[in-house]
Symmetry: C2
Subunit: 159 residues, 2 copies
């Protein structure tokens, strides 16, 4: 059984969440609906302007990361949702055509005292864009708490 449970999310574990290429039309449609600022909408945004030209809404980048997280982990897990996080950083602009690589790292994990069948897992999700020189640049960092069901192998223990 491949289901990811609380016990599988041990501190230090790094999980690959795959890659995607930023689609121009979808990026613009998202901006029109949710974040219609000129630098997210206007193809003629000058390259010497504040964000270096047309770029994605940070919420679009976060939403692409979320989809990768669902596809590569949550869809086959004991996830019970998330109350949110303590850091959401947009570190560099994302542009149409960028290839993004998504990742997850487990920071810490503890069993819930009030609900021992559940664990709280602190994680950092990241997105990296591939750069022209063959390197990577971190464009998104989200540190949050994920709630996961305990598989039950050691459900008598509670901390």
């Amino acid at each position: 059984m491949a289901t990811v449970a609380y016990e599988d999310l041990s501190p230090g574990r790094v999980i690959d969440l795959g890659r995607t290429v930023v689609d121009r039309d979808e990026m613009l449609a998202f901006a029109r609906r949710f974040d219609p600022q000129p630098f997210h909408l206007d193809e003629d945004t000058p390259a010497d302007s504040v964000l270096g030209g047309l770029c994605a809404s940070g919420w679009f980048t976060a939403s692409l990361w979320m989809r990768a997280y669902v596809d590569h982990l949550l869809a086959d897990s004991t996830s019970l949702g998330s109350p949110g996080g303590k850091e959401l950083s947009w570190l560099a602009p994302v542009r149409a055509g960028d290839e993004l690589r998504f990742q997850l790292e487990v920071l810490s994990a503890r069993r819930s005292r009030s609900r021992p069948e559940m664990g709280l897992v602190e994680m950092t999700g990241t997105a990296y864009r591939m750069t022209e020189d063959g390197g990577e640049q971190c464009v998104l960092r989200f540190t949050y708490t994920g709630l996961f069901g305990v598989a039950g192998k050691d459900s008598e223990e509670s901390s």
Copy 2:
């Protein structure tokens, strides 16, 4: 001139960002594309399940808040973008048909040392759902830094 500049965003200021009603079709379309977890997609999610039935992706709620922020403030401002924030909390589920009220509160503001023509404004954005008893429940809290151009009335001062 109605443009909102750095000088207008003084600590303690509370800004109304309007209201919206959560559209079921759009909520589901967002979940299908960006957050296809059962409790965001399946109309038959039981009311006694973890999130109390079908509810919106937290990223959809955040994106609705963003649109309200653009419409009520950023569209007519000296905004220079945002590097992100230090808290993003999803405090309670949002459901199709909920009426949401959006708000912004300025926490602190300071001029950039390296770029005195710019100010850094720490703000908390919130979304409240109207409850059946006529009250409100906070469903989203986002504390972040907004970058705004200085209008220039006192541009000789820099801190």
